[in-house]
């Protein structure tokens, strides 16, 4: 199914629209408050953005070196470091480890990269049960869906839909629910998940950052599930992208000024974990075995390319939270793992430009994403660059290319242009119905399906201006 078809379905889905309508002002309002609160600490958002941008750029300029340092430090503290070229390799490595340690159940903390690798499917196929433990991820897993948002996976679901899923999965009758019941429903999920934390032999998490100087993974969560997943099971596997490196703890703390604020508006998330190596002698908890799987899956190709800026992304979700298109469609319409503006850039770059032709065009160019991005990724510029690449590679429909060139050919010949536009405005005037407007315009049905078209006065400005000058 193509983007157009998915989008058409979703703009007409009242349940989805209700869920999205409710979420948007919350995201926007919380972030605005969070960013404003920087001033309480004497910090300036724009200055911090510039610092964050340069931290990320510094890493990307010498990514191989920082990865080397990370690998060495992580090994010293007892972790194993593996490398995966693509999603299939990730899945193979994780299944191998699971089988080596006799794992029957893996508890997962939220990881978008595991979605890239379709890890849950691979584990299930190998007879290992993956259990998502982030509340939103737990909900979408019950629904048999993929997350629709990178930090709020179930944002597309209403409370009624969630109640139905819980009732079925937890074997109880369905009840009417309101937002006042959210704590009770959360407790219900918590009780179920607690059993999984205690019985899973393997924990799988992502990492928000990898800190080169200490060889640690930094995990930013709000529910505490991340801490359970990374400390209770015998084996902990961290699956994350190679671009997630930051050089030092100091750099990490700078980025942490921006990440929670940009994502949820929090000054800091409820849990910030720095995970280094394995359980040491005398430690109360922690895994016996820690494995980092550092994943390329298309990232290295972006280094040194026109798209390198995209690798700065710290996955806060602010771009989608401020995107008018995202909030008209929800995340599933985007067709792959990442939605919103960052998805419209990453999906074509990671899955093939020719496989996601609509996404870079599915933007009004409003730049609401660009002005909120905490690491100053010029998202509209990157989407525009992808549009240019499509044209250069001859991937646009011939009718669009022909129409543009023909129009431009005329527009460079003012006399002809005047003559043709005089005809065009008269034609528009002729199409007007009793309302004084055009209700059906065959040349641009996309416009008049949802809007009237004002027909103008039947004369062009230049025509009227010329007449005025003659008079």
């Amino acid at each position: 199914m193509h983007f157009h078809a998915r989008a058409a379905e979703r703009v007409r889905n009242p349940v989805l629209q209700k869920a999205l309508q409710k979420a948007k002002p919350l995201f926007v309002g919380k972030r605005a408050k969070g960013v404003a609160s920087l001033a309480d600490d004497g910090l300036d958002f724009e200055l911090l953005r510039s610092t964050a941008e340069s931290i990320r750029n510094r890493v990307l300029a010498d990514l191989d070196v920082w990865l080397d340092i990370f690998e060495t430090r992580a090994r010293v503290s007892g972790a194993e470091v593996l490398w995966a070229r693509d999603g299939d390799e990730v899945a193979r490595l994780v299944v191998d480890i699971a089988q080596r340690y006799g794992v029957t159940k893996a508890a997962k903390s939220k990881s978008m990269l595991s979605e890239e690798a379709q890890l849950n499917e691979a584990l299930a196929a190998a007879g290992i049960r993956p259990v998502e433990t982030d509340l939103g991820e737990y909900i979408v897993q019950l629904a048999g869906e993929a997350p629709s948002h990178i930090i709020a996976p179930a944002v597309h679901k209403t409370i009624g839909e969630i109640e139905a899923l819980f009732a079925e999965a937890h074997g109880r009758p369905e009840q009417p629910r309101t937002s006042a019941d959210i704590p009770a429903m959360t407790q219900e999920a918590r009780a179920v998940l607690r059993q999984h934390f205690l019985s899973a032999e393997m924990g799988i998490s992502g990492a928000n950052f990898l800190i080169a100087e200490t060889g640690s993974a930094a995990l930013v969560t709000n529910e505490g599930n991340g801490r359970m997943v990374t400390t209770l099971p015998r084996v902990h596997v961290v699956v994350t992208g190679i671009e997630k490196i930051v050089p030092t703890l100091e750099d990490f703390s700078t980025l942490m000024r921006l990440l929670p604020r940009s994502a949820t508006g929090q000054t800091i998330s409820n849990y910030v974990s720095l995970l280094t190596g394995t359980r040491r002698e005398g430690d109360q908890d922690g895994p016996e075995k820690t494995v980092f799987i550092l994943v390329d899956n298309g990232r290295a190709n972006l280094l040194g390319s026109a798209w390198q800026d995209m690798l700065r992304c710290i996955r806060c979700g602010a771009c989608m939270n401020h995107c008018p298109v995202y909030f008209s469609l929800g995340g599933h319409a985007y067709g792959w793992v990442y939605p919103g503006p960052m998805g419209s850039v990453l999906t074509p770059l990671y899955t093939g430009i020719e496989n996601a032709l609509d996404l870079p065009h599915a933007s009004t160019g409003c730049n609401q994403c660009g002005v909120v991005c905490p690491v100053r990724i010029p998202l509209p510029k990157l989407m525009h660059g992808l549009r240019e690449t499509q044209v250069e590679r001859g991937l646009r429909p011939w009718r669009e290319r022909f129409a543009l060139r023909a129009w431009a050919w005329v527009a460079r010949r003012p006399a002809l242009y005047r003559w043709l536009t005089r005809g065009a405005v008269r034609y528009l005037r002729w199409l007007v119905d009793g309302s004084g407007r055009i209700r059906v315009f065959g040349m641009a049905p996309g416009w008049t399906d949802g809007r009237d078209l004002a027909a103008g006065s039947g004369k062009t400005f230049h025509e009227l201006y010329a007449a005025r000058k003659r008079a």
Binding site: R12, V325, H361, C366, N367, H384, R405, A444, G456, Y465
Partner: protein, 243 residues
């Protein structure tokens, strides 16, 4: 002082009255205002579609015909953004057109930006009355930083009351070809804009970009709102009203 008024193709075709309103305002500043006769379109549709080569051809044409004026004034944020921010990018590596594009960029102003900066004392006619709300268009706001200028101008129109709507900085969903190619998504976005406008209950929604205004007007009418007027700020400031 010679000013070129760059009318924009959309105003030329869809609402010539906006062009004449802009012309009256500029003439009232006492400047010698010229409408360069060969102007057609700045090329934004080609640029936006990713057709850099075609965009450059039209940019060269505009740069050449606008070269001899002290200022170029455009009653549109998005076309101004094209001339000011995109043209220099298009010719960044071009020794001939690059410097010309940069020079034009420095002399090009959006209408409200121009009036607020160069004609702060310009007498403005009284309003026909009424209560308006202002829609910030994306390219004007985030591309050019236009926010206070239209409000400062509207505040000087006697008898006019401005009430801000919720999310006035939020995109209306126009996006040029986006509005046609992704018509249903665009409609969904402009629906939210219409709801914000309805909540304010103003007599008119005012903006600085005809594309956004046609989009908002088209949706308001389709939703059955025949009352709320949709006006370009030039029309309000020149006292011309709809034409």
């Amino acid at each position: 002082m010679r000013i070129a008024l760059y009318v924009t193709c959309l105003i030329d075709l869809m609402r010539p009255g906006v062009g004449f309103a802009a012309l009256r305002l500029l003439e009232a500043t006492g400047a010698d205002v010229v409408v360069p006769p060969a102007q057609t379109c700045c090329g934004q549709p080609a640029w936006s579609a990713g057709d850099r080569q075609t965009a450059r051809l039209l940019a060269e044409k505009a740069i050449a015909e606008l070269a001899d004026y002290d200022h170029v004034v455009v009653p549109s944020g998005s076309c101004t953004d094209q001339l000011r921010n995109i043209y220099p990018q298009l010719f960044a590596d071009d020794g001939h057109w690059g410097p010309r594009a940069t020079a034009l960029a420095a002399r090009t102003f959006e209408l409200t930006e121009y009036l607020a900066r160069f004609a702060p004392e310009l007498p403005l006619p009284d309003a026909e009355g009424g209560h308006v709300t202002y829609h910030d268009s994306c390219k004007g706001l985030r591309g050019l930083g236009i926010k206070q200028q239209p409000r400062a101008l509207l505040a000087r129109v006697k008898g006019l009351q401005l009430t801000e709507m919720a999310d006035c900085e939020e995109c209306c969903g126009f996006g040029g070809a986006f509005s046609v190619n992704f018509g249903d998504v665009s409609t969904r976005i402009v629906d939210r804009k219409c709801e914000s406008i309805a909540t304010v209950g103003a007599d008119a929604v005012v903006g600085g970009d005809l594309g956004c205004l046609l989009n908002i007007e088209g949706r308001l009418r389709r939703r059955g709102d025949e009352r709320t007027r949709v006006l370009h700020i030039a029309e309000v400031l020149a006292g011309g009203g709809e034409s």
